[in-house]
């Protein structure tokens, strides 16, 4: 398959910025990883010079074992039909990232969500505090050290009969004597 558009873009980016890594994932999609200081220049560059007008999303992964959050910015170009995944790692204990809602207005919403769900701070970022959770007092719920089940047990009531939370697929199979094939077992808990 011809990937010269993607290759060309990757070369351009490598020429301008110091990429920690860069690869073509597949057609329409490349992935680059940069230092924290390079994120805003790179986003500005792709938006203003290369025409990546649309910010699809800002995503976050909690690498609790490595002690970092991985933020993924996803600008998209309607002309080039390419989604760039810009990865950046920030330390988990001092989770702070630069505010980009002046570059893309919609980043406001994503950043509010990140702040609420992961506790990542964006200095200089103004936005209403309560977004989805109201009056949340615990640690941010999307962090992997947040124990959902304990929290639910602690805060909500449970209808008797639902304590075990058994897997439906297995239970039904048990009742009817059906054999679940091995490949299917990994999908049930």
């Amino acid at each position: 398959m011809e990937l010269h558009k993607e290759k060309q873009l990757l070369e351009t980016l490598q020429g301008v910025f110091q990429l920690k890594s860069g690869e073509i994932k597949r057609r329409h999609r490349i992935e680059v990883e940069v230092e924290k200081k390079d994120v805003v220049p790179l986003l500005l560059f792709v938006k203003e010079k290369l025409g990546y007008k649309h910010l699809s999303h800002i995503s976050c992964v909690d690498w609790i074992e490595e002690g970092r959050f991985e933020l993924i910015y996803m600008p998209w170009s309607h002309q080039e039909q390419i989604l760039i995944m810009v990865k950046v790692s920030i330390p988990r204990d001092a989770a702070e990232m630069e505010n980009i809602d002046m570059i893309w207005r919609q980043a406001n919403t994503y950043q509010r969500e990140l702040r609420e769900m992961f506790g990542i701070e964006f200095p200089g970022f103004v936005g209403d505090y309560d977004f989805i959770l109201e009056d949340w007092e615990d640690i941010p719920p999307m962090r992997r050290d947040f124990d959902t089940e304990a929290y639910v047990k602690d805060h909500y009531f449970e209808r008797p009969g639902r304590e075990d939370a058994k897997d439906v697929r297995t239970e039904i199979a048990k009742r009817s004597g059906e054999q679940i094939p091995d490949f299917a077992k990994k999908y049930s808990r």
Partner: protein, 180 residues
Amino acid sequence: MNDKNSQKIVDVIKNFARKHSLFVLAYGTGCGAIEIPATMTSRYDAERFGIRGAATPRQADVLLITGYLSTKTLKRVIRTYEQMQDPKYVIGFGSCTINGGMYWDSYNTIKLLDMYLPVDIYINGCMPRPEAVIEGFIGLQKLIAAGKAEGAKKYKENLDWYRANQKKVIKNWVMPDYNW
């Protein structure tokens, strides 16, 4: 009118009218709201039982909770319920309101609706089909006719208990008092 028998007759008339005239405030939470248009329109036609929509809680008789409630929504639902005028009824709709349903371990949705609001009748299913919804309404009508749909009274009498439960999930409680 102070006579006991005539009061009984008035009650019968009132209950008959209440039974056959249910203004539903469809507070469209969760995924169940999509079943309401089907229930109301041509195919299932809930209006033949006197069930029709109401735009604001002031006009409504029935609060229909159509699915899971996040804690943020719960606050608004409680406010809405308290703004409705007596007599008022609550229908819990779908398994999410009964025991959490598929959200049984979600950190942000309540599991048991009847700990926070006095539910008169539950409709189970995920989602209940319009037939089931109408069945639920008819169940409510039977309760009303028998004078047993007294959720509002229960709420009024056990307000402290309900409040304690509500305040357990809603930390920042800034709402007008419920005192009617």
